[in-house]
């Protein structure tokens, strides 16, 4: 079980309808690759976030499959079109079954 996991997202509060905005996401996570060894020489079991998704009003925006070589505290930045007011929903899926969620609403003007 990973500790100290905290999702963060940055989405503008409003945008012109139909325009494109930049979204930044960051989740603090150790992202243990499963390749490292502890002092006794035993493998430290893999514990990473393996999937990240973003949806806007139920419509998929991005989906990312993550592999063990991804760095600690993975950061994703991407652009999304905002056709109408609504809510961006972000979900991270952990190896241990935990699911971390964040949501941000945006107003189309």
């Amino acid at each position: 079980m990973a500790s100290g996991v905290k999702p963060r997202v940055k989405v503008p509060k409003s945008a012109a309808a139909g325009s494109s905005i930049t979204i930044k996401t960051l989740i603090s996570h150790k992202m243990e690759s499963g390749r490292r060894k502890d002092k006794q020489g035993n493998l430290i079991p893999r514990s990473i976030i393996n999937r990240f998704t973003c949806e806007f009003n139920g419509q998929p925006v991005v989906e990312v499959a993550m592999e063990p070589s991804i760095s600690t505290n993975p950061f994703f930045q991407f652009d999304a079109k905002v056709p109408e007011s609504g809510e961006f929903k972000f979900t991270w899926y952990d190896d241990d079954g935990s699911v971390y969620e964040a949501a941000k609403s945006i107003e189309a003007t």
Binding site: G4, R8, K10, K24, L26, S28, S71, N73
Partner: protein, 290 residues
């Protein structure tokens, strides 16, 4: 003997080059834009003319100025700055009760946003009760042992460095202003002497690189002036916050000398002197560096 005389010649060449002005060469080729604006709102002072008699620098530059534009961009947004994750972690420690007295930092100091404003800008400084020049780390451990009844933290350990970052960020944008006169004067003079004394098998002083050759390449890296206003520093190479004394230790080791101990009075004096070289630069930690 032959080596000795060669060294003399090289030393002379280096000094001459400096006098003619390697400085301006760097300033002309420095990456633009040169303005550090954090979160699109607070502009940091990244260059300042130092007061007379402190150093031989014509202009003091924030270490941020020497980094690649990609690295610079990461520091200009708190959301992207990985150092801020550690600041959040430190806030948990700030509120956590530890030790026999049942106190946390917050028990006495309240919210760091109020009580810690300006602290980082004036440290290291003379502490009357300790009777010596003290760093933030020493004050933290003093609080932990005498007021909280808790175990002291390791000087360059994770908890210590992140707590220092939490305290530093409250002073961000304020000019560094360490006092070098009064009771702190002898420590400052000792620090200055250390700065200009060549040590190690490579016979390098701090000034050999950071005063005479900043802006030049040292292997693949660009030498900065070694200013410490941006510490604690998140380094991309180790993915954590790094303290001033850990950096000093790394530098002294690179001259192939026996290093001083982090937290030793020698390093405290050196920290005071190096801080004074950047008097007037903004406190900008946690910074992002290679």
């Amino acid at each position: 003997m032959k080596n000795k005389s060669l060294n003399g010649v090289f030393g002379l060449v280096a000094v001459t080059t400096f006098a003619i002005g390697t400085v301006s060469v760097w300033a002309e080729t420095a990456p633009k834009p040169a303005k550090l604006v954090v979160n699109d709102e607070s502009e940091m002072v990244t260059e300042v003319k130092p007061a007379e008699g402190i150093s031989h620098l014509a202009t003091a530059y924030d270490g941020w100025r020497f980094r690649a534009s990609e690295t610079q961009a990461v520091q200009s947004d708190d959301f992207e700055n990985p150092g801020m994750i550690f600041v959040e972690q430190a806030l948990d420690n700030w509120n956590k009760v530890d030790g026999t007295e049942g106190k946390s930092c917050a028990s006495c100091h309240g919210a760091p946003e109020e009580s810690m404003v300006g602290v980082r800008a004036s440290y290291p400084k003379w502490d009357e009760t300790m009777g010596k020049v003290a760093t933030i780390e020493m004050e933290i451990n003093n609080c932990r042992t005498t007021r909280m009844g808790a175990e002291p933290w390791k000087y360059t350990g994770g908890e210590m460095t992140t707590m220092n970052a939490l305290i530093s960020v409250q002073s961000r944008g304020m000019p560094v202003n360490v006092a070098i006169d009064g009771p702190a004067q002898s420590a400052w003079e000792h620090g200055k002497e250390m700065y200009y004394t060549r040590t190690g098998e490579l016979e390098l002083s701090c000034a050999s690189c950071h005063e005479q050759h900043y802006g030049d390449k040292i292997r693949a890296e660009t030498l900065s002036q070694g200013q410490i206003n941006g510490f604690p520093s998140y380094r991309l190479k180790n993915g954590k916050l790094n303290s001033i004394h850990a950096r000093f230790k790394g530098c002294v080791r690179d001259t192939r000398a026996e290093t001083y101990k982090p937290g030793s009075q020698d390093f405290v004096d050196l920290e005071l002197y190096v801080a004074s070289r950047g008097n007037g630069l903004s406190v900008s930690g946690p910074s992002v560096r290679n």
